[in-house]
Symmetry: C3
Subunit: 351 residues, 3 copies
């Protein structure tokens, strides 16, 4: 295993070896979590600071628990009670926590690029403080994508989760892809694995371009204008980057067809106010995951959602609670193990 | 000692043996709290999550400290900063913290029944996670009643606090009984002990019925309409449940007469807006605990209050601070010991 | 070394021996902070409660980290989520946390005298609970002044920081001195050291009197009315208290002239609304610390600020980030070491 990364900001340049290092390290921590005493002394005496400029109780709790189980001390900074209202800059806040003796920073901010900016400042100051992006604007949310990856790979081989297990699998990502940092990170990791990744969203919520990937919707647009909505078995495919297979769809059916995994995304209700969607009900009708729709997929298809779920919007309520299909609870559990692995690796733990 | 309870949701079905197990376990933890190092490794590596959908700094602090002194890790969820605003259900929140690896949940909610619903879900999922009701609506607040019980019994026999010590004692509960989950839990524990429990409240704040207990106010109502307010030595008594002695009064005097302990309840100021009370001042005049009123009680009477106190409303300010009468500070100290005992017992500790 | 103080409320009566005890103890803790495992078991099993009636994330984090590094458990009370809104008094809140088993209380309140009142109550109750003033109104902020002192003394002799190192040094304090608890505490410690302390502020932000010190502004007022603004080399001096050298100025130049250290203070924006200042811009022009202004000082002058900084108001933005001049980051680091020392000494640690 190899690991040379001091910050975890984006999955864009992650190598297969790095993915596998995370997966294997997380697997060993997952074993710790099954013990009665779910704690290891790895980060004893070190300080992990959660700088959450955008509030998120569940993600912060997951990181806090991961840090505590590595025996680190934790500090929580949340913007609402902060000196930011007092005119201090974000970098000043980060440097204050650095000067107090923080060893690692977990950062969430509603603007893309903030974790990167803080990481650059740490490097400029030549301090060995690791920065982990816990969600920045519509950019990336690497730990979420890594826990999704871990959840899927662990299902395929509990003892030895590894990237290669996804080769040839078909994965659908459904929902508000345009605004989703979760989708963005997942696209990097899943296409890196050799899986076929199919994105499905209403036109207003699908990016016009995606990195180096060509927009494939023109074909469907043609098809659609001809009213030919039935021809979904032959999804329009483009694969311009070697070894990355990404497909975009305006309808959900071609994405779900024979899919091994379906990832749904949280729909922010403000999209309605922004006139990007007519109504919650229509969204559920066209893009909600239901038992009926899952008939299109492989028989043993599994559904993921980053949470919190709008029941009856992105996914029908009963499906969410059905352990035959839903991996949502496993994702949360994976989250603690994967975040323990990330903090461990950033902290210079042996791989 | 016996203990087979995995959740602590209500005192309604608590047996004398269970009360005594709690009292004796709390007594041993109280001893720990007198040491310089007030910590035991009992719950090392376990996670206690405080899910406070209704905020309460003092109760949360008490549980947090109890958990820390058992060496557990703690997570705090408060509704204000939560994903509840994002459309997630309460059960979803609980299940998220379950999936993270929570071993015990301490739950407060403004609606009755929420802790019970979460406990049922945990049982349905067949997970060994204990749920403790830290106050649900106007239903129950078992840990408060147990710490009140422990405070009283410890006073009567510091070395061996036990339920039987209360046999034949007279205990008055005064105040907004109708809306009080504290009163409700205390009624179960105190009547179970064989004490005589006397409730006193204005008619608007006294329940019409109380479980299997018959309403005894009719007599007094008659007495009152005749203007006969002085005949308080002969309180109207009903005792329809074997071994449970509960008495209800519209005036405070018959409840205080020869009482060994007086429990006052917090008066929520919104009761005025709800037209259940004319004014704070009149309430204090009719139902406030004062030195004068205590003359009716036994000479060594003690006063309890679950806190926080509205000074000069439920109790006169100087009385609250008088260690000869007030047990308020001991209640807070008992709270940590009793909550340590409850977490210990729920966690499968030896009894 | 000597230490007999159970509370730390004010520096007014601190003796040189006490200052040196703090400095030496902090120096030994600073060494701990350079290790990989930055923790000592000194306060294991003890509870430090942060009672922050006025919110301050950075100061609370500093105390929380100091307590955790001494292995104490911490409780955080913040007024926004508190029972204060429920009618409880501040003393009641403090006594509740006392009864829970708090060993030390760190208190911040927007009113002067609150920590003193709580400390008196603890003494009256004859309990050995130490109270530390973490900022009370416009009165004092002793731990901030002690960390400033430690920062300066450590710069002058890293191995043996001591009060005497400041003898004969000139220190300017610039800004809103009238409303600053930081300035008030710093004046006590710095004048006690034998340094010359020069205060500079607009007339509206400078106190009319300062303890036993005579107002020296009359001379300058005269000078000013004659338009003689250039005569700054001869600052009007008064020194009525033996061994304390304090000088007050309406202009910044005489304060900066040959200064070894310059302390700037945070400007609260509400001063404008109070008509104490015409504009932020004029304030920066007249009292902001800039590279140009520092030409007046000693060549190796250093600048301090208690944070958070209003960049471009109290100090120019580039100067704040220049490690040649700015000690701001060292102050934050000193803060943790000094607060560890204070908690250690209050807790009865050997000196």
């Amino acid at each position: 295993m190899i690991w040379n990364r001091h910050h975890i900001l984006s999955l864009e340049d992650f190598t297969p070896e790095e993915y596998n290092t995370v997966l294997q390290t997380a697997a060993s921590f997952r074993e710790v979590l099954t013990r009665r005493t779910k704690k290891v002394p790895t980060l004893q005496g070190q300080v992990v600071t959660n700088l959450f400029f955008e509030s998120s109780t569940r993600t912060r709790s997951s990181f806090e628990l991961a840090a505590k189980r590595l025996s680190a001390d934790t500090l929580n900074f949340t913007a609402s009670t902060s000196s930011l209202t007092k005119g201090e800059t974000i970098l000043d806040t980060a440097k204050t926590y650095l000067a107090m003796g923080t060893d690692m920073m977990v950062i969430r901010h509603r603007e893309a690029g903030v974790p990167q900016a803080i990481a650059s400042e740490m490097d400029r100051l030549n301090v060995r403080v690791g920065v982990l992006n816990a969600g920045d604007g519509q950019h990336e949310h690497p730990s979420q994508a890594l826990l999704d990856l871990f959840t899927i790979c662990t299902l395929l081989d509990p003892d030895r989760p590894r990237l290669e297990l996804l080769q040839g699998k078909k994965i659908a990502i459904v929902g508000d892809i345009l605004h989703s940092r979760v989708a963005r990170s997942n696209i990097w990791s899943l296409t890196a694995s050799g899986a076929e990744v199919h994105l499905a969203a209403p036109p207003t919520l699908l990016p016009q371009m995606f990195g180096e990937f060509v927009d494939t919707r023109s074909e469907e647009r043609g098809a659609r204008s001809e009213g030919d909505r039935g021809n979904h078995n032959q999804p329009s495919t483009v694969n311009c980057q070697p070894n990355r297979k990404l497909f975009l769809h305006w309808q959900i059916e071609p994405a779900l067809q024979d899919a091994d995994f379906v990832m749904t995304l949280r729909l922010q209700r403000e999209r309605m106010a922004q006139h990007l969607l007519p109504s919650i009900r229509e969204y559920h009708q066209l893009f909600g995951i239901t038992r009926d729709r899952l008939q299109l997929c492989k028989p043993d298809v599994k559904v993921l959602h980053p949470g919190p779920v709008n029941r009856g919007v992105e996914i029908s309520s009963d499906l969410m609670d059905d352990p035959q299909f839903s991996l949502i609870s496993q994702q949360v559990t994976s989250g603690v193990a994967v975040r323990m692995a990330l903090l461990y690796l950033m902290g210079g733990g042996k791989v």
